[in-house]
């Protein structure tokens, strides 16, 4: 992880940085100065890994998907992040950040959420650590991810609707930033993806890197080699992809494939395919690729999947795209829904809509019979049942 590592000012190549208003300077500077020392302190690592094991249920299995492999005539392994406590990989990061918040002496937690998975994961760790929790969620997402809203409430969190703009993830992120600006001293903002000002993208990637750390030794156990031919993950902001790619970045024989949400089609005007439609600019305090007008106004994205309904990608992904280290593909709403049903019927696993995007491109990448393909199954589909029942003919 040398070549693709963030530099000390938070840049991945030309992307990243910390374009924050002065109101957040002290908080961000404190995080920048302390995050590595805090999270690599032996006591922190011990507590973090203990919780990942006993509370989250790690390591998550690396499962050889026999029938799916047969269908695509290759060897497909699923990294079962869907089996994490709370139902997705998001909890890896929230466990790490809540421990960090405690070390910083913070008394209150805020978060943004799209699909609600990060909100649930944040509400969960706040219950665990007895800290008050406010989760910002777009009004549109509150409606389409109702079960997760109820879960957050069950866990004791307050869910505040974001009512501006597209009323989705980007607007929830704006509201959370505003809250942090208004409460800089007592509050820690647990950002859920590899987005935001430095050091958030790097910190979240490090917490999620447990995914690829486990894939390597699990693959070695099962195939004799640590290195697959492909690692595939969906990308909204890109936290599960960052985690799944992290320990393979320097092994350039491993093809990294990021799958964005094409919505109703890349050029339909209702899409979230950032690398196809985006340009460099500054969104949510970092320089990255995102969808915007010629005048630099953020374009409202669309995806059937709330977790991918974000106009940008994290700066690490913008860099991987820019230098060609990762290949970026996209899947439409329909393709994702087809992939949901396929995985359900072939493997008895109902994936989250987000994760289904990663499966939807399997026929496009030219996999061979002897290839080893790892797909990060980032979350389970319970939260999406309403959508599935409406959209899939059973």
């Amino acid at each position: 992880m040398e070549k693709f590592k963030v530099d000390k000012h938070g840049y991945y190549g030309k992307f990243g940085g910390a374009y924050i208003p002065e109101m957040l300077h002290k908080n961000i500077e404190e995080l920048q100065n302390k995050y590595l020392d805090i999270i690599y302190a032996p006591a922190f690592q011990k507590e973090f890994h203990q919780l990942l094991k006993d509370y989250v249920g790690r390591p998550t299995p690396l499962y050889f998907a026999k029938r799916l492999s047969e269908k695509y005539a290759t060897n497909i392994f699923l990294k079962r992040e869907d089996l994490c406590h709370t139902g997705a990989h998001k909890v890896n990061n929230t466990i790490g950040q809540i421990l960090l918040a405690q070390k910083l002496g913070k008394k209150r937690i805020i978060a943004e959420t799209g699909a609600g998975q990060h909100g649930v994961a944040t509400a969960t760790v706040c219950a665990l650590m007895n800290l008050p929790c406010v989760v910002y969620m777009g009004e549109v997402d509150i409606a389409r991810q109702a079960p997760n809203v109820q879960r957050m409430k069950m866990l004791g969190a307050e869910v505040r609707p974001a009512t501006s703009g597209s009323k989705t993830l980007k607007d929830a992120t704006n509201e959370a930033m505003r809250d942090w600006i208004a409460h800089p001293e007592d509050t820690h903002y647990i950002i859920g993806s590899v987005v935001g000002p430095h050091p958030f993208p790097d910190m979240v990637a490090r917490f999620q890197s447990i995914i690829s750390e486990e894939i390597r030794w699990q693959l070695k156990e099962q195939t004799g080699s640590e290195l697959p031919n492909y690692v595939i993950a969906c990308v909204g902001g890109g936290s599960n992809a960052a985690g799944a790619f992290y320990h393979f970045l320097d092994d350039e024989t491993v093809q990294l494939i990021a799958v964005e949400a094409a919505g109703e089609g890349i050029h339909s005007g209702k899409s979230a395919a950032t690398t196809a439609l985006g340009k460099p600019g500054v969104l949510h305090s970092s320089k990255t690729l995102f969808m915007q007008t010629d005048d630099g106004q953020v374009v409202e994205p669309h995806s059937i999947s709330a977790g991918l309904d974000y106009p940008g990608i994290g700066p690490i992904h913008a860099h991987l795209f820019d230098v060609g280290r990762a290949k970026f593909l996209s899947a439409t709403d329909e393709q994702a829904l087809d992939a949901v049903l396929e995985l359900s019927r072939l493997e008895g696993i109902i994936p989250a809509l987000e994760s289904a995007h990663a499966f939807a491109i399997l026929s496009e990448i030219g996999v061979k019979k002897d290839d080893t393909v790892v797909i990060n199954l980032s979350g389970r589909g319970d939260k999406d049942l309403d959508t599935y029942l409406k959209r899939i003919a059973l």
Partner: protein
């Protein structure tokens, strides 16, 4: 050469009144008329907001005005067209205020060049931090002889305030509280210590307090504690749905006296 901002603070020193208005709001062509009305009612300086879809450091009132302005078709390009001949009528200092992304898409060098051509005196970009200013953008400000105006907050350390003072050449924007614009706060109770701390630093640049200034009392309090004050949300709010701009501006400024 001294710029208009420096001249203003040299001539007047105290009780400077600056007003913020979003370009393209309430109607797309309202700006020139608003500027004239503000000037003729004795306002000393105006900050012209460049609308952005995601203004994370602003509160609901200014965000709403940004949305309306964008829907009205306001862009940086159009703004410069509206400001092209503005110096025929307006002699008070004008400052552009907005988020960095639209300026980046316009081309930052080109943005500053066009601003200078229109007679703009300074620029406030809340999400352009000091590190990026010093390493990337500072030279462009120098090239075009434009002032970059930095914000400080109650959390900004003395050391950092002094550094900002060193690299500033117009005024320092003192954010009154941990807040987003338009916050309803009890200035007096919380802020005296912070303002006193700033006074003890004997800064070479004048200070202007913004955020939470909305009426006669808060303005007087800000004037007691700094060289000037900026009114933003309170003014933006009164302009919504108003037909007669010059009357509205006159009434608003009068009730501050």
């Amino acid at each position: 050469m001294t710029n208009r901002i420096q001249q203003l603070f040299k001539q007047k020193e105290n009780n400077i009144l600056s007003v913020f208005i979003t370009a393209g709001y309430p109607t797309v062509e309202a700006l020139p008329e608003i500027l004239k009305a503000l000037q003729s009612n004795g306002v000393d300086m105006v900050e012209i907001g460049m609308p952005f879809s995601d203004p994370t450091a602003d509160g609901p009132v200014i965000q709403h005005s940004n949305t309306i302005a964008i829907n009205n078709g306001m862009t940086i390009k159009l703004l410069f067209e509206q400001l092209k001949d503005i110096r025929k009528d307006i002699h008070i200092p004008l400052v552009l205020m907005g988020y960095i992304n639209p300026a980046l898409q316009f081309g930052f060098d080109n943005f500053l060049a066009s601003a200078k051509d229109c007679g703009i005196d300074g620029v406030i970009i809340p999400d352009l931090p000091m590190y990026e200013y010093e390493h990337i953008y500072g030279n462009l400000f120098k090239k075009h002889d434009l002032q970059n105006i930095f914000l400080i907050t109650p959390q900004t350390s003395n050391e950092r305030i002094q550094k900002i003072d060193q690299i500033s050449n117009s005024f320092i924007y003192v954010v009154s509280t941990h807040a987003i614009t338009g916050a309803n706060i009890d200035l007096e109770a919380q802020q005296v210590a912070y303002f006193d701390r700033i006074k003890t630093l004997n800064l070479r640049n004048p200070t202007v307090i913004g955020f939470g200034i909305k009426d006669k009392d808060t303005l007087a309090f800000a004037h007691k504690n700094a060289n000037g004050a900026i009114i933003g949300s309170a003014f933006v709010k009164v302009l919504e749905n108003r037909q007669n701009i010059s009357e509205t501006v006159a009434d608003f400024i009068q009730q501050l006296q």
